[in-house]
């Protein structure tokens, strides 16, 4: 059944990563008083960029955490309809343990979003085609927030969108292709829209849990009807969960580790060995070429190649089982049946909209500066998608038969250091004592509502 997506109601981030809008800034804010928050929404409403065809120079998106929705006056019985993970928030102590946000990544030490700071109620995402435009719009946002007394703001500037993330690898290549969006027409394999947006059938042909309310609570008929025909209205329809995490990358530490691990007994170093080990950890070469297709050397011609599987590399001789991309999306390599594995992998996909931050570099960080990634991803089911990938695939030391190998790049490594195993003939190479290369510096679960839901929020309390 073809699904018709309501692109005029869905926010644009669902349909595109704004790659032509190379400049971005994210603003986290705290809603003090509900009327001020709703007044801000009134101002935002005509300015929200939707998923409909778009050619503007500036795009603006808005999202709210559970605390933000409550603060705006959304009644408890509606908020209860959201997923438990969203309502509990990213910094719930049990969740922190689950996500690996402990030790250096403990939310108590976060720059924003932590339990002791101002609540991250809302998120404004500004994308612009040139830096001047970004600054002008950001100044406008600042003024709009300021004049309504909305405080507790944190501005998160992204680095100009380039081809590589801070460790020096081409990034963001593999994205699920969503049924119902234009790209799906040529794609062999698509993922149902309901995996990334509420109110549409998901991979199991079902609707994910969503906040419904009696039609009587929406007398102006601003919200869309519950698609099951229950007679209720659906606050969640055309909205989705947005995971936002600020991940600091220890670029220097990463390359130092790789240097030390590839130095020969006589102290000499081969830059090829260095790049090869780093590539084994990532699963792609710096250009982006996947190891399963280019096992021995970088192959820039394959930079954007996403058309590959692991069935010809079951032991991980080309791309290690523990490599970052082979665990973030194991494709056909879970278990003995490739088709079943592909179907299972597709139930744990994320729509990734990350941006890097910090000074652009050649892999060396300048003193005092912080480099990293704003991990931004969209998913209709936080538990089955984002949290599953983070816990069961990335941070899991026993992933797919491994023993002590959390993700070499992004995983939470225990104090004694993690292990990274590179399968080889006749005997694997084992690297031990991997320190932590990535730590969480801030984060929150947001909900990216449909425009009609924003309109509903704006008129609450009238």
């Amino acid at each position: 059944m073809a699904v018709r997506l309501d692109l005029n109601d869905i926010q644009g981030l669902f349909a595109r990563g704004y790659r032509e809008h190379r400049y971005a800034r994210f603003t986290i804010f705290t809603i003090g008083e509900a009327p001020a928050g709703r007044a801000l929404l009134e101002w935002l409403l005509p300015r929200i960029t939707t998923a409909a065809p778009f050619s503007g120079d500036v795009a603006l998106q808005v999202a709210f955490s559970a605390s933000g929705l409550r603060q705006l006056g959304l009644p408890d019985h509606v908020v209860t309809g959201f997923a438990a993970e969203f309502r509990q928030g990213m910094t719930n102590p049990n969740r922190s343990r689950f996500l690996g946000d402990t030790e250096e990544s403990d939310p108590r030490g976060w720059a924003w979003g932590g339990p002791d700071g101002p609540p991250a109620d809302g998120l404004l995402m500004l994308y612009a085609a040139d830096p001047g435009l970004l600054e002008r719009w950001q100044a406008e946002l600042r003024q709009q927030l300021g004049k309504r007394g909305i405080a507790g703001t944190t501005e998160l500037p992204a680095r100009e969108l380039g081809d590589t993330e801070p460790f020096g690898f081409h990034d963001g290549i593999s994205q699920p292709i969503i049924a119902g969006l234009p790209k799906a027409a040529q794609a062999e394999r698509t993922v149902p829209a309901g995996e990334f947006i509420l109110g549409y059938p998901n991979a199991r042909g079902q609707l994910a849990g969503r906040p419904l309310l009696p039609a009587s609570e929406d007398p102006s008929r601003l919200l869309l009807p519950d698609p099951t025909g229950s007679g209720a209205v659906d606050f969640g329809r055309n909205g989705t969960y947005l995971v936002f995490r600020q991940l600091e990358q220890d670029v220097e530490g990463f390359w130092q580790f790789v240097d030390a691990a590839t130095r020969r007994a006589d102290g000499s170093q081969d830059s090829g060995d260095r790049a090869a080990l780093a590539a084994k950890m990532v699963g792609r070469w710096p250009s982006g070429a996947p190891l399963v297709k280019a096992p021995d050397h970088d192959a820039p011609a394959l930079a954007d190649d996403n058309d590959f599987a692991y069935r010809d590399d079951p032991r991980g001789l080309a791309c290690p089982i523990g490599a970052h991309i082979r665990r973030a999306n194991p494709r056909d390599s879970l278990g003995p049946e490739p088709a079943a594995s592909l179907a299972a992998s597709d139930r744990h996909r994320l729509l990734r909209r990350a941006r890097s931050y910090g000074p652009a570099g050649d892999g060396i960080r300048s003193a005092g500066s912080e480099n990293g990634l704003y991990l931004i991803c969209l998913a209709a089911d936080l538990a089955r998608q984002f949290e599953f990938v983070q816990h069961t695939w990335l941070n899991n030391a026993t992933f797919n038969g491994l023993y002590d190998d959390a993700d070499p790049l992004t995983g939470q490594h225990h104090p004694a250091g993690a292990t990274f195993t590179v399968p080889a003939r006749p005997v694997r190479h084992r690297y031990r004592g991997l320190p932590q290369f990535v730590r969480t510096r801030g984060g929150a679960y947001f909900f990216l509502p449909g425009v009609s839901a924003v309109r509903y929020l704006a008129q609450l309390g009238r």
């Binding site: 719930n92 199991r204 994910a208 899991n396 080889a424």
Partner: protein, 422 residues
């Protein structure tokens, strides 16, 4: 090597002691005091243990079922010495815990009286799944040490350019030459002859006994299926969701090590039809886990170390409990994707389960309903012990195969395959 038992001890909590027991358990859990109090780590052959309270529910007839304290252990046979060790080794904890229960003889009573009391409170499981029948704790630990030793040995040398069978021969010589590892050159001993004879007799005997009933099947099965279908049509979707408080309590005991404990309890749907169906399905489950799924795999799921189905209160309720690898979300997904048919056939007979169709369909396939109902029915396990917190079931199986590969001749290709286990 011994076979493994799923031991369940259940006792009614004394009338005014439910609150104090719950508080005591929470305190013991919080301080990490359980390890020294129960000394589970000193009990021979103990793989896992869990201790939890079943709250006082009211059944469909409005009859209350008193709260009870449940101790579940997965342990190497024989039962007699395990029961004795619960008192001799873990007596401090057992005395305190069951001291909240009606009629427990208490620490002043003789050891024999307390062991006898535990024995009287044993509850029979209708089926016990053991990841690999006959693989005892000692073997699991030994084979983990073997793997560590081989990995360390491999790290010390440069193997590039060597032929795989040559490398293997060197590893064989290394193991054979180490007095503390030489056992690995021999296969593990099988379970006792008595156990094997009993299991073989069961495997053959049960189908033989059923053959005479076959002619009755065409007369019994159709009306049974129709009645079940009619009963299914009266089932309602699960609309309830777990509270955040309950989720938080469950989560506070989860995701510390490789494995997690799992325990759910629910009412069997009322009526003879459901009761008989449940009993038949459980008998089939018992046969299946003993003779089909008895090595490293429960119908495609490789992450479960132990599982058991225990009927309670004269089959008014059913408990399912397990020790599994990874997170509950992944566990539930495995259920939904791989053993939905088994879950539906069993728990379709339990109240508060998503509606099933024709016994096997629907049910667990309603993802949200299924996940919600499992979380709602899940019981927090404040005291939980694992003997091998860092090993997944897949790791344990791999370790066993590393050991097995030390014996006999191998061609270079097989030797290469074997080396890839390291």
């Amino acid at each position: 090597m011994p076979h493994q038992l799923g031991v369940t001890i259940r006792a009614q909590v004394a009338a005014d002691q439910v609150g104090p027991l719950r508080n005591w358990l929470a305190k013991v859990a919080q301080n990490g005091a359980a390890d020294s109090l129960f000394a589970f780590g000193h009990m021979r052959g103990l793989h896992f243990a869990k201790l939890f309270v079943l709250e006082e529910p009211t059944d469909s007839g409005g009859r209350p079922i008193p709260a009870s304290l449940v101790l579940m252990t997965e342990v190497d046979a024989p039962l007699r010495s395990h029961l004795a060790e619960l008192i001799d080794v873990g007596g401090d904890g057992i005395d305190e815990a069951f001291g909240f229960c009606a009629g427990y003889p208490g620490p002043v009573a003789q050891r024999r009286a307390r062991v006898a009391w535990l024995r009287r409170h044993l509850v029979r499981a209708s089926a016990v799944y053991v990841n690999t029948v006959g693989r005892g704790l000692e073997q699991i630990r030994q084979e983990a040490r073997l793997r560590d030793a081989l990995e360390d040995y491999l790290d010390q040398r440069d193997w590039d350019g060597r032929a795989p069978d040559d490398v293997r021969r060197e590893l064989q010589a290394y193991v054979a030459g180490r007095a503390d590892l030489a056992w690995a050159m021999k296969p593990p001993a099988p379970p006792s002859l008595r156990f094997r004879v009993r299991e073989a007799a069961h495997e053959v005997g049960v189908p033989l006994l059923l053959v005479p009933l076959l002619p009755a099947l065409p007369f019994v099965l159709p009306p049974w299926v129709v009645l079940l279908r009619l009963s299914e049509l009266r089932e309602r979707p699960v609309t309830q969701r777990p509270t955040l408080e309950h989720l938080d309590e469950l989560a506070s005991y989860e995701d510390f090590v490789t494995q997690n404990p799992f325990a759910v309890v629910g009412f069997v749907r009322p009526g003879l039809l459901r009761l008989v169906t449940m009993r038949v399905v459980m008998a089939a489950t018992d046969y299946g886990v003993r003779h089909v799924y008895n090595h490293a795999d429960l119908a495609g799921i490789k992450t479960i170390h132990f599982a058991r189905w225990v009927p309670l209160d004269n089959w008014r309720r059913m408990t399912f409990a397990s020790n599994y690898d990874g997170a509950v979300e992944a566990y539930n997904d495995d259920f939904i994707d791989q053993v939905w048919w088994g879950l539906n056939a069993t728990f379709g007979n339990a109240a508060a389960y998503p509606p099933t169709r024709w016994v096997f369909c629907g049910g667990a396939r309603y993802e949200q309903q299924f996940k919600n109902t499992l979380r709602i029915q899940q019981v927090p396990v404040p005291v939980w012990y694992t003997a091998y917190p860092a090993l997944s079931a897949v790791n344990i199986e791999n370790n066993a195969r590393i050991r097995a590969g030390l014996r006999g001749e191998m061609n270079p290709a097989d030797a290469g395959q074997w080396l890839s286990r390291l």
